[in-house]
């Protein structure tokens, strides 16, 4: 297997471009599901799709350790390769490391000024200029609309794709007009793309990843993809 086959194996690569094949430089995206269905795995696959496309990403982990986050990348990379032999695997793994940076925050201390300060440390010294941020563990139940709007503004200023993960709860059945569940039902207009992971239907094994909303033109709302039950890899 060559690098291009690895890229082709990841269906989430479609999110990098709009329908005309133009790169999407700004987007606020959201991956939602109940606990344990694979949000982090999807964020990592989105990040890998960007990295293999030559872009730099920052993975912001809130309340998760650096090592744990690194392990996610190692595992998903291994699962993407699967049983096949990837040529130059070591140099591709090194490329992933070079294009990825992990930042961990405590849940209480994560906010826009702090994130912006850290990003500026990197960008102004020309150490690392990310094209995409994935933010895992952001607590939507405690975040106000203003805080999210603030982060959206940061996305625009810094010309970024930002992907969030959010946990929904079975007992909270509130949804927005677009079908986006709580706790994000009142802020769904701030997101350009929203994907929801649903547990397998009866007699099925696989979780499905549904694109509920997309205003960037990279995917069609309503599109649904299956996730491998063991590895949580999105199937083409």
């Amino acid at each position: 297997m060559l690098k291009k086959d690895l890229i082709a194996k990841n269906p989430l690569r479609i999110l990098n471009q709009d329908a005309k094949g133009k790169q999407i430089s700004q987007r606020m995206g959201l991956v939602m599901s109940r606990a344990g269905l694979g949000k982090t795995a999807i964020l990592v696959q989105i990040a890998l799709a960007n990295i293999l496309d030559g872009k730099k990403i920052i993975h912001v982990s809130i309340d998760q350790s650096l090592d744990k986050t690194k392990t996610w990348y190692d595992d998903i990379f291994k699962d993407l390769i699967g049983a096949e032999h990837l040529e130059n695997a070591a140099s591709i793994a090194a490329e992933i490391m070079q294009h990825r940076m992990i930042m961990t925050f405590n849940v209480s201390s994560f906010n826009r000024p702090k994130l912006e300060e850290r990003l500026n440390d990197l960008v102004q010294q020309d150490i690392f200029r990310p094209a995409c941020l994935v933010i895992d563990g952001f607590d939507f139940t405690k975040a106000s609309r203003e805080e999210l709007a603030d982060l959206r503004e940061l996305m625009e200023i810094m010309d970024l794709n930002i992907w969030f993960s959010a946990v929904s709860h079975r007992e909270d059945d509130r949804v927005s007009a677009n079908g986006i569940p709580a706790p994000c039902h009142e802020v769904d207009d701030l997101f350009d793309t929203v994907m929801v992971i649903r547990p397998p239907a009866k007699d099925q094994l696989c979780n499905t990843l549904n694109i509920v909303k997309d205003s960037t033109g990279s995917a069609q709302a309503g599109k649904s993809m299956q996730m491998d039950p063991a590895s949580l890899i999105v199937q083409g």
Binding site: T69, M101, M103, N106, S109, D121, Q125
Partner: protein, 693 residues
């Protein structure tokens, strides 16, 4: 009299630098009445702590060599190895862990789990060492033992459970509540040696009950009896202790104790915990290799009546000759006995057997399985196994990392020359990560080790202990070369002028080897190269690996396959085929697209968050790759991989960049190809050096 092995503990004390291990050891020695006064590490009395016996250690306030010591606490014999915290001396930590049955992991209640604690923890996992944690320095401003216990769970993946709750913190630290007995314990008197038990202060009752609940939950996983008793509301302290002990020895539970060694609080309770929860030598399975049965692994018996098996794990140059620290795994060692070094089969007679107390010693007549003692005047290397003369056994080998840095040293005069050789001979025996050789081209003596500080300390010791003044060259990184693609070779070595002729042809190919340094494959059919010259080809290739054509660096990761050749009935010889192989290697090497590899270090820089930008900038300037940043309260840890060649002098840069508030640790991670621009520089320099010679 035979010892009751149930009452023997062999423990190590390991931790991050500056978290107070040496101070803690000092208190242990005081409370167990091995010493009669307390001296601080950098104390004003100028005596220095007992365990820091080397002059240099006293001066720098760091512990360089682990000194073994022995004490008794409540009828238990405890052998303690004080281990260094700096990563450059990790071999010392590893060797100590190899022979220990349990360990106390010291953590600072302010700094928490720091990078070095992670390294040490990983090493303890490797050697399956059960451990208890002691959160020290609870008297310091900002002390937060609960946060540190949380880090033990999150960062070190330990099932950490609080065994105590502090009574007051920082300047108000008065004592601890023992959650097993639910009693408050106060350490009073000038040296904290008067222990008073009392009722739990009312304001702490709720917290203590909640924490005891957590303790019972965790401990009852290891004992059905305790689980039933908890359900019935009748757990006894004995049941809880037995369950915690079981979980600790199974490496599934880490009981956490708290205190302040400096303020004399909590140390005795920690000593009780060593007796109560850490295993005795019988409870740990140690294995040895039976050399008569093709190195078959077997468990040692721990029986003092069995044949002797012991391991020399540390050497020290004492005033009266070489001192060899030994752990006895089975059998009994007596003064006057003859034992065998299983590495070279040499028999030695035990002249003096001593029990060590830092730099003082006590002569003993015999020592049994489970003991750690020292032998006098025995010539051996660190890691050697000593056994009874009638068995042939070796303890499994120890993990020894390869050195990554070297520098040249030259003695200033003849006297220094003699002393330097003596010193080097000694150091290489003591420390397997310290190596030395003479570069035949430059005639310089090269020393290699695990980091700048590692080598600096040996140079300093050479001067102080051996009076050997040496001039030191700039540190050199140990580059390697490797090939990146397959290439054919075909070379004929022919010399027929004068004397007997030489003839040999070697053909085949070389290719990158994914694992390992070198492999030789003989695919010759039909006797194109006679059998007796096959090993000559192997030798020739191995010689070629010593110095690569790019940067004179050692060549790694090559498989040489010979497929064809030719010989001459009269002129072919061992030398001719060695030279033919050297020629063949030269022929194929450049076609195989060789690259230069450099050692990459895993670096963790820890400092106040306000300096984060500067720290990242400094790593970036050093061709470092930042892996991530982690927030720890007001501190940030920047993790990165940086080429070793760029790390020289980094401590000074970091100090000035952060007003001395940041610190860093590094350890060898891997070898990676150097970027083109840097490779060109290295090749240029190697060429210039060669021309100079």
């Amino acid at each position: 009299m035979k010892k009751d092995l149930n009452k023997v503990r062999n423990i190590g004390i390991s931790a991050h630098i500056d978290s107070g291990k040496t101070t803690l050891t000092e208190r242990i020695l005081f409370y167990t009445q091995r010493i009669h006064a307390i001296h601080e590490v950098r104390g004003k009395d100028g005596v220095g702590a007992k365990m820091d016996s080397m002059e240099l250690e006293k001066e720098r306030g760091i512990t360089i060599q682990s000194a073994a010591t022995y004490c008794t606490w409540k009828e238990h014999d405890i052998n303690i190895i004080d281990t260094p915290g700096h990563v450059d001396f990790t071999i010392e930590v590893e060797r100590a862990l190899r022979v220990l049955d349990g360990a106390v992991l010291i953590l600072c209640s302010v700094g928490g789990v720091q990078s070095q604690s992670i390294t040490v923890n990983r090493q303890m996992d490797r050697y399956k060492v059960p451990r208890i944690a002691f959160i020290n320095k609870c008297d310091r401003t900002g002390a937060n033992p609960l946060r540190v216990a949380g880090q033990l769970r999150d960062k070190l993946k330990q099932n950490a459970v609080m065994m105590q709750v502090p009574i007051g913190l920082e300047g108000d630290l008065k004592g601890v509540v023992d959650l097993v007995t639910m009693k408050a314990v106060y350490f009073e008197g000038e040296n904290g040696d008067v222990i008073r038990e009392d009722e739990i202060p009312a304001n702490l009752m709720d917290e203590c009950e909640a924490k005891r609940e957590e303790l019972l939950d965790a401990a009852s996983m290891f004992s059905d009896e305790l689980m039933e008793a908890v359900l019935e509301g009748t757990p006894t302290p004995e049941m809880i202790r037995a369950a915690v002990r079981k979980g600790t020895i199974a490496l599934e539970l880490t009981p956490v104790f708290i205190g302040s060694a400096y303020k004399n609080k909590g140390v005795q309770a920690m000593l009780d915990a060593v007796n109560l929860y850490l295993p005795n030598p019988k409870e740990v399975e140690n294995t040895a290799l039976d050399l008569d049965k093709n190195e078959e692994e077997f468990a040692v018996s721990n029986d003092p009546d069995d044949k002797l098996i012991s391991l020399a794990f540390k050497l020290e140059e004492g005033r009266y000759g070489q001192l060899t620290y030994i752990r006895i795994y089975q059998g009994t060692m007596r003064k006057g006995d003859t034992i065998v070094n299983s590495r070279d089969g040499r028999k030695v007679k035990i002249g003096r057997l001593v029990r060590m107390h830092s730099d003082e010693m006590e002569d003993i007549e015999m020592a049994h399985a489970g003991d750690i003692v020292a032998l006098f005047g025995i010539d051996c290397a660190s890691g050697d196994t000593f056994t009874s003369p009638d068995i042939s056994v070796s303890m499994s080998s120890m993990h020894v990392p390869a050195p990554v840095i070297s520098l040249s040293i030259s003695p200033v005069d003849n006297k220094a020359q003699v002393n330097m050789s003596k010193a080097l001979n000694r150091f290489t025996k003591e420390d397997p990560t310290f190596r030395t050789f003479v570069d035949h081209e430059t005639n310089e003596t090269i020393i290699c080790g695990m980091g700048e500080l590692h080598l600096e300390v040996y140079i300093e010791r050479m001067k102080r202990e051996y009076g050997a003044q040496v001039e030191v060259g700039a540190p050199q990184v140990a580059y390697r070369e490797t090939i990146t693609q397959r290439a054919e070779f075909n070379y004929t070595h022919k010399k027929q002028t004068g004397g007997s002729g030489q003839f040999g042809r070697v053909a085949g190919y070389m290719e990158p080897l994914e694992e390992g340094n070198y492999e030789f494959v003989d695919n010759i059919v039909g006797g194109a190269i006679p059998r007796e010259y096959i090993s000559s080809c192997d030798k020739g290739f191995q010689k070629s690996l010593e110095k690569g054509a790019l940067a004179n660096a050692q060549v790694n990761g090559v498989r040489c396959v010979i497929t064809d050749g030719a010989f001459h009935a009269v002129d072919s010889s061992d030398v001719a085929f060695q030279l033919a192989a050297i020629g063949a290697f030269k022929d194929g090497y450049m076609k195989a697209k060789p690259v230069i590899m450099e050692p990459i270090m895993k670096v963790a820089v820890e400092g106040p968050t306000e300096f984060q930008g500067g720290i990242m900038g400094s790593i970036n300037q050093r061709r470092g790759m930042i892996i991530g940043t982690a927030e720890e309260g007001n501190y940030t840890v920047v993790e990165a991989e940086v080429p070793l060649s760029e790390m020289f002098g980094y401590s000074t840069v970091l100090r000035s960049l952060t007003q001395g508030k940041a610190e860093f640790t590094m350890e060898f991670a891997t070898y990676r190809p150097v970027p083109k621009g840097v490779a060109d520089e290295i090749i240029k320099k190697a060429k210039a050096d060669k021309e100079k010679k």
